[in-house]
Subunit: 132 residues, 2 copies
DNA sequence: CGTTGAATTTAGAATAATTCTAATTCTAAG
DNA sequence: CTTAGAATTAGAATTATTCTAAATTCAACG
């Protein structure tokens, strides 16, 4: 996770700042289209392509992350600390959760896959409180 | 995971059988389009819509699963036992891995999310052997 | 300051991914 | 054999994302 100073050093353009702030200020995970709609509120002339470009850029810089659980459009999430997700198999609701993954797990995963590990994330599939 | 007998009891149509077999026989995770192309080899008149319908049906029956790591089309994976994924952040390569998740973890995840838990899956992001 | 050039943004077109529609075919039950 | 519901088909429609080419921004340079 980047510090405020590091973010400032990136010299974000006006558009990228707006896209980032929209995501940072949202409680929900937003689709690209929702980011676009909200960004227009702050910067009416912003284009769809710029939103996508900005999302890609911000993702590469590690300021946001993209999640997709196989039903429709990708969603964008602010990048705080490492965290996990829970997704409701009935209504699709997506929430962030924070678990303490045992160190052992990442070693095990790296060993089994033979990948050089970067990060580990867990997804719980279940039923949210609203869906009973 | 369903037994052979249970699968037979579903009375799958010709098309659904073909789609299922394509996925079962593939070492790789396939996109809907790849499933379509391969299915055509076995059943030349099969349509794209049927492939999508079949994928949805088979997923609902728990015979296959859909994964999407936020870059392009969803991929379909045969449903064997519970398993996890590793994805290469450089080339996008996706492999199945099998980890022993501590029982404790699912309880923790359920508690944090307040969801009634169904399944838990872990994703390792890293660099695959080919990408160094 | 003017010029230059790289990076970014813009509007809209193009492509890719997925779902829908309406007509037809299949299948199992009466 | 009928009939009704489910599944399939071809192709259109919709949604999601990326591309293109022209315009803009902005910093570095003379």
């Amino acid at each position: 996770m980047k510090s405020t100073t590091e973010i400032e050093e990136l010299g974000l353009t006006k558009q990228r700042k707006v896209v980032l702030s929209v995501i940072m200020d949202s409680k929900e995970h937003l689709t690209a289209n929702e980011v676009f709609e909200l960004s227009k509120g702050l910067l009416p002339k912003i284009s769809f392509a710029t939103v996508y470009n900005s999302l890609r850029y911000l993702k590469e810089e590690g300021l946001i992350s993209e999640v997709n659980f196989g039903s429709g459009a990708s969603k964008y999430d602010r990048m705080t600390d490492r965290h996990d997700h829970a997704i409701c198999s009935s209504c699709g609701k997506l929430v962030d959760i924070r678990l303490d993954l045992p160190e052992e797990l990442i070693r095990q995963a790296a060993k089994h896959s033979k990948f050089r590990p970067e990060s580990l994330e867990l997804t719980l599939r279940g039923t949210c409180p609203e869906c009973k």
